[in-house]
Symmetry: D4
Subunit: 254 residues, 8 copies
């Protein structure tokens, strides 16, 4: 941003643009305002990276409008999260879209080749946690990561988890998805030496309080290196894991 | 109780006692009323079993009064739980008492020989959980159980727990004491094949919410066979474990 | 587990198996991985004991897949808990299944003969608690226990409970199922001399907060020997009660 | 109030008072404003009835100021609730005051003779509940009621409560004071046929959450005829019980 | 109960009944056990008083079974609360029943003549609170009370409430029904000199948290003489108000 | 009110009205009682100001009844908030009504010309917050305010908000509508120098707890000058903003 | 801000400053960075307006450092809120400061003459709420407002409040400060026609939950025009009230 | 681990060690058991990396015991977190320790040279958040990271944060530490393109509920790439940030 201002100021100095135009330029909105939404076009779009639309609370018409703007701005891959089956059917008529019903994700465009440091593991405590885990896995894949899925490795049967020690030790990031008591995050956090992102799910009943139990459990993990995202927030976990797994970009820049 | 009523009714039939006296007898209070407390003298006191006084919210004077009644009724072992150091000093002057400051337990009389089915394991997630665990262990010992203590076997370092698999597999009851995310109960519950009693502790900070996190975690354990007592309730766990470990008494009676 | 390792090591020493095979053997997974689930085949299956599938959050197809594996591994009795009526109809076409709609339990195979120490009482505070109590009772029966049902013995009419004192005093374990204020557990806990497992239910309205009131009530029971499972967790109570009622197996082993 | 307005309007009609004076009269404040407090002098003070000052959050000097106004207005009995020991010492120097340290109540003036319909029972679950119960009992006595105290009759030992069935059945109002799981209110509510006022106390620890457990328990009582006041609100219970026990005044008026 | 035991004991003394029969008699259950429910037939049914069935969580068939028992035992008036429209239609075919859809109450039999001390006022904060208030009012009427309804007198327009000061001052009990901030109870409590029973309702949205706001508000009322029942518990309020309004029965007995 | 009483008293003095009539006059209800509601006709209706009916929990018939009374009392503009689509269709047949489905508001009559000090900005964090914001905006417009809508200016893309600094600095009141973490209110509060009214919305999932997260966030705003209304309470925000924006009326009066 | 950029750009155009210097100028920090704090010097300081330091969590030394910067920047009036007595003594040695112990506010400099539209009323429910109310009142006075204090006008004695109707009707803003059930805000909101700012206080005990009860109550106020600040946030209420009472500045500017 | 087993198995094959010794070797505990703690010596200690002791709930004597073991195992740098001033004085006598009182951290040994990818920014919302931020910063430094501290950049004065855009854009990880409404995390998350770790603090009062407000806020961040640790958990944030900043080690290994 600083560079831009410098350039604009230099143009002003050189008389290439007027003061008013410069002011306008500085304030020019790096987003497209379509009334109900301001679509962010600001980020320099790197090859193979997906853009994401949060589908909940938006009408299919609004979603289509946002996709339109994005496609016009040359977005290669577009993810729509929290997309209901009903909305997916309407959006799917407007564009060629790959819809994953359990994860409630629609993908328009191509899944890029993995570009990250290593592999991201997405592990679930039980079968019921899979939809949230799939959201994380698909987001991570769409953002250019190789993903390994380890399902149903909850702590009630430790040997199921321990039989995957090799994958766990070689992962660059692990996403631990679990409901009920959410102990999976702590156990993985105690075994692994990479960053662990914990996703509490609303799986469970009674005193699970829709994911509160797993959330508190994960926040209080006695294992170091565990950080937490919102209940059922597969997207957030996948996105954050991808950022960590792309720290090499940071390295290269330096 | 039924037997007693039968005997009284027979005495009435035989004219041995009057109707009024019978009524009185039936209603006769099986406890000693000392104003601020009604001391239960009802339970048939088996050899070697301890009686318990909940010390919190009672003045040393009140505690001494209750102990007096119990001793007069030939109680061999008396436990006073939640006994503050200040109260312990006063009570300790009235009776020879063994006071455990960290567990806040005072014991008057002898610890009986173990009479249960097997051994009770008391395991803690971390060093800070030891006071609550000690309350459980001392109560279990005073009630006639052999106790094994496994400290600092929290899930952040699984190998510390797994190195004690032999003890775990041979226990008759396991008490899992843990704060923070309380995952210990689930992991032990997944390994053991005996009843597991989970004790959440108020160890932790922030979103541990004084034990709420561990409590919810344990209630939502994905491992079967785990039941839970109140936060920091070492006494309840020790007492319940003892009942389970003395199921042989039930067997013998039959 | 130790024995197995010893045997494997001995085979290695004797050159019966290669180092690689030994390693493989040690790590061999004692479960069947069917993608969405890892079916535990590890536990030595004792005669007459049921295996349990948690039906919630699993599709009928997934459930059938898991049952398939279990049957192939000679499981005599299979319980499916939290099984919706819709799923039950589909699963019921694949196998001969006894479905209890109120308790949401499906049973495939035979109910074994009781093998425990004594009888398990399942008591309810009111008529509305019966579905949860039935889950507990059926689970206990499927695990080889004799069960007595005491319905509608809530504390608002103490005489209804007191008229069953004989059963209460002779039980080996009591499961107290109650919603609203959950006082049943404390009252039974004060009367009985066996372990009491309290099951809070979501019965009630307003400040019952979907079972929170009963849960807190039971955790704070002033009666000793009461431990608690999750709200509406009839399965957990039945399973734990069965473990306690089978402490004789522990005794025999010793 | 209507009568007063009628009288004032008639005086206006008769020219006995000016319009301005009438307006003044109508608006005349039935309280004494002493800056930090507006002391209510409005209620027609019946013989023997006490007035109450809530002592918490008031300085001794403020309390003395309020007492001054009350005494000048011929109040026979003045109760000061939630009065700390420190404040009591200062107030006690200004007036002859009977201070009950455990109930934190100071009483200035005489306790009146009982004038109610019958007796008010104040029952406690345990010894630790006595301070709150004493607040209720002293308030009820100061408001002209005969009070019976039943201490330590909690549900863990039902026989202790059942041995007082005579008192329970003959009471006009019962105040049930209990912490922990607060089951006392439901059990008494199921036995008695008079109004029951439940007072949850902050006695307990862990999941008692400072009285929340008892509060919810009492609000969800399955026994009819139970209403609830705030946690530790002995005053409110005593005051309400007195109003109910003085329904005869209502009757007589009719 | 004592009388009964005396009589039985006397019969034993006179040889009229055997000891065994006497024991049986003492333990004879004062309720009818119909499997899923134990119908209380214990209370001496006073003329004109209704018996109440809690309809929630019971099938129409179960309700009909309970009504059958009650009618056989000469119950004049039967109230069924929390009765859904669907159940009401089925029950209504079995008996002549007056069903109030908004209050979800069915009444079988006649409403008795009022027999209480005075009038019970049922006041609501707003139109949306009326269903709960109607439950209270109908229960009170069915239990023999005269009821005055004051609707929509919430504190946002104080003059609406103040215009009813005459009724308020002459009531024997007032039931204050309000959701949202529940201030109605405090304002009425400050104006009236009779017992006030506060009923929080689940009316409101957002931070009303389904009645929690009104519940806490009412529990913390700065007005004396206010006690509280569960959220939306119109039945409890009507029942308790009736007990208070029938304190004359207590008086007469003395 | 005082003036009215003075006038009435003077009439009494002059013998123009009787004492009884005067009393009646003083107590004359400034509202219309239609049984289920007391419609407030008290406020002096200023030109162009709307009256508001809270539609939730009222039947279409009740709403129509209230509108009838209002129209008879010459109300120019009537807003019906929280009006469901179903009710709107019925009410819309009785009167010409402009119904906004997303904001659930029906407007009968004309929107008045703006009469306030300046402009009210209604800003939303995201597209999903628009329905609540529309409620606020429509209410403010109906109460005589000019409204500017700034949608989708959440803090995740600060430049979207900063590009509207001119509007923000010139607003007389700003309504900040946001769910999830509700940070919009703090950021706007830090930028603006006018009163900011924060409206938390129930937008979000998991630990958003139906608006609790945004509510707490806004209450704890580190920016001065921010006050908060209930979750999703667009009406309250619009009404309060209008009062502030009409402070000129207060000024003129002085 | 825009003007500044225009001016800087013009200087660049005219060659008066270099591009680098312009960039620097644009980014020049409008605050003083003193390591542990960045003191805001940005706001155009209007005559007579106070600047505010939040004293909690700052050492006396840090506070003195911030005051130093402010005084150097010609701040006439400085308020320090949440200033402990201990800190006040140290700060008071460095500067002439007027310290209000109950409100925990220190004032350095002169209180300005009132410049707002009208009067701000600060009303309290009870004597215990006065400290919070004083914080609000002192802040409002320091920001140039005339303040009227109405203490102890809680709803338990409505006449105390109603006797101040004249002040209430003539206020430009009302701050309603109340703990316990917080009904004062709703009652005042129903009477007044100006904006009402509600301040819940932590006064109360038990189910008051440190102000939660009053907070929820105020958020759910059925009276329109009420907005809420944080529990015990007298400062926020005083600041917001002042902004509203200075809407004339907004008017004049236009 | 696998490698070790392979080696051991090969030694067995070669007859170098007996089966029993092999078993022993496999089970040899990679920790030192000192009774109250099992000190983890397992992790391969990389150059310059610190080991951490959680000081809360441990006696100085216990801490010293653990340090002893660590030093004997050649640990270069030892951090003791949550170390009270009292404990620090005792531990400080046993070892040369650098104690940071505000962050409650003691450091024994040398701080290593930074070895990570880039710089870690630790930003605070306000002065009161500094102690938690210092814990994070010191932990990160002790684990081999370069740390930049940005204090008091809360969202109430956005320009303070925006003036540090250069640092923000060049960071490899950002730790956002904030109490109250915790909006800092969302704003930074919206500006930065690196992983952001949010640390809610218990700074604030009233509805901040000891950090709950900030915690929920951060969990619900509308900015992507934000993950959260426990309230006041500076250690966890510093540790996790270090793991992310050392992803180059992962890269190199591959």
């Amino acid at each position: 941003m600083e560079d831009n201002i410098v350039k604009i100021l230099e143009k002003v100095k050189n008389g290439e643009i007027s003061v008013g135009d410069a002011l306008l330029e500085i304030k020019k909105e790096p987003f497209a305002d379509i009334g109900y939404a301001k679509v962010d076009l600001h980020r320099q779009i790197r090859q193979g990276t997906a853009e994401v639309i949060y589908g909940a609370g938006k009408t299919p018409k609004q979603i289509i409008g946002i996709v339109d703007i994005m496609l016009k701005n040359k977005q290669n891959t577009i993810l729509i999260t929290r997309l209901s089956k009903e909305s997916a059917e309407i959006v799917g008529k407007a564009y060629k879209m790959d819809y994953h019903e359990d994860a409630r994700i629609g993908i328009i465009g191509e899944i890029p080749k993995p570009t990250g440091i290593g592999k991201i593991i997405v592990a679930t405590g039980g079968t019921s946690d899979i939809p949230v885990a799939e959201e994380a896995a698909l987001v991570a894949e769409a953002l250019g990561n190789e993903v390994i899925r380890l399902n149903d490795v909850g702590v009630a049967g430790l040997h199921r988890l321990l039989s995957h020690m090799d994958e766990i030790m070689s992962a660059s990031v692990i996403i631990a998805v679990a409901g009920m008591e959410g102990a999976l995050a702590s156990v993985i956090g105690g075994l692994a030496d990479c960053p662990v992102i914990a996703v509490p799910t609303s799986v469970g009943y009674g005193a699970a309080f829709n994911g509160l139990s797993a959330l508190l459990s994960m926040l209080n993990s006695c294992s170091s290196g565990v950080s937490v995202v919102n209940i059922d927030n597969g997207f957030g976990a996948g996105f954050t894991a991808s950022r960590i797994n792309h720290m090499n970009l940071k390295t290269e820049v330096k």
